[in-house]
Amino acid sequence: MTFTSSRLIHRIPALLLSLGIGFFLWRGLVLPSFPHLGSTAAHYVTHTASETGASNVVAAILFDYRAFDSLGEATVIYTTVCGVALLFAGRRYRSSRRGLSFVVKRGMALMVPFILLYASTIVLMGHLTPGGGFQGGVILATITVLFCIVYGSRFEAAQINPNKKEMAESFAGLFFVGLGLVGLLGGAGFLANLRAGFPGGTPGELLSAGTIPFLNIAVGLKVGASLSTLFYSMIKILEAPSEGPPPEVFSS
C-alpha cells in the first residue's frame, strides 16, 4: 500500500510538469502566426545569400558565421570516439561471421547503394537544401550498423578497415582546420569564407557558397567515420558473451 501511494506522489508532479512544459511549448511555438525576428535573425535571413552564397541559412550559420563552434563540436565527437575506442581496444574479443539469413543479406545488398547515394546527396547539397555534413555522416554510419547486424562484424571489418576509418576521421578534421587556416592566410580570420577570397558563385547552384560544401564534406566524413567506429567498438564486445561488466555493477 505504501508502495503505490509513494509512486503516485512521484508520478503526479511528473505528469503536471510534462503537461505544463508541453502547454508552454505549444503556446510559444504554435500559436504566434507572425514570427517576429530579432535583429540577429533578421540579419541572417536578409544577408545570407549575399554574404555567404549559400541558400540554406542553417548551413551558412553552421559553417560560416559560427564555423568555429562546428569545429568545437567536431572536436567533442573526436574526443568521445577516441575515449570509446581506447576503452574497448584489445584483441581478445571475437568477431562474428554468422549474420542473418540469406534473404535479409540479399535485400540489404540491394539497399546499401541507395543509402550511400542518399547520404552523399545530403552531404553534398548541404548548402542548398536541408541537411548537411552531420546528418549525412550519421546516415553513412547507419551502413555500419546494418552491416554489423545483417552480416556480422567480421564482414564489416573486412569491408571497411577500422584503421582506415580512423585515418579518414583524422584527415577530415585536419582538412577542416586547414581550410580555416587558408582563411587566416587570406587576411580575414580563421574559417573566413567569402571575405578570404573563396569564390561565392550563384546562390542555388551546386558549386557555390565558397568553403561551405568542403566543410560539409569534411564534417560528413568525420562524423560518419567516428560514429561508425563508435558502434563497431561497442558491438565488438557484444559478440563475446564471456566478456562483460563486472557483477558489482548490478549490486547497487
Binding site: S18, W26, L29, V30, V58, A59, F231, L238
Partner: protein
C-alpha cells in the same frame, strides 16, 4: 499552416511516449518508447518549418541512439524478473 488538431495530437502523444519511456519497467520497452518519441519529435520539427533539425532528430534518434541502446541492452546482464512481492523496494 498546419492544422491545429494534428499538432495537439502529436504533442499529446509526445508526452505519452516520454512518460512511457521514463516509467516502463522493461528496459527494452523504454528504448522503443524513446525511439517513438524521437520520431514524433522529428515530425513536430518538420511541421514547425525546421527541416534541418528534423532530419538530425530522425536520423540520430531512430538510426543511431536506438541501435546503441539496443547494443548496450544486450551487452548487459539482466536482473531476474521481479515477483509479486516488492519487499526489496519497500526496504529502501
Amino acid at each position: 499552416m498546419m492544422s491545429l488538431p494534428f499538432l495537439i495530437f502529436l504533442h499529446l502523444f509526445l508526452v505519452l511516449a516520454a512518460l512511457a519511456a521514463s516509467e516502463a519497467r522493461d528496459m527494452l520497452s523504454a528504448v522503443i518508447a524513446l525511439s517513438v518519441f524521437g520520431i514524433l519529435l522529428a515530425i513536430v520539427f518538420a511541421l514547425l518549418q525546421a527541416p534541418d533539425v528534423a532530419l538530425t532528430q530522425a536520423v540520430v534518434n531512430s538510426g543511431l541512439v536506438t541501435s546503441l541502446f539496443l547494443v548496450a541492452y544486450s551487452q548487459t546482464r539482466k536482473r531476474p524478473p521481479r515477483g509479486p512481492s516488492r519487499k526489496d523496494e519497500d526496504s529502501l
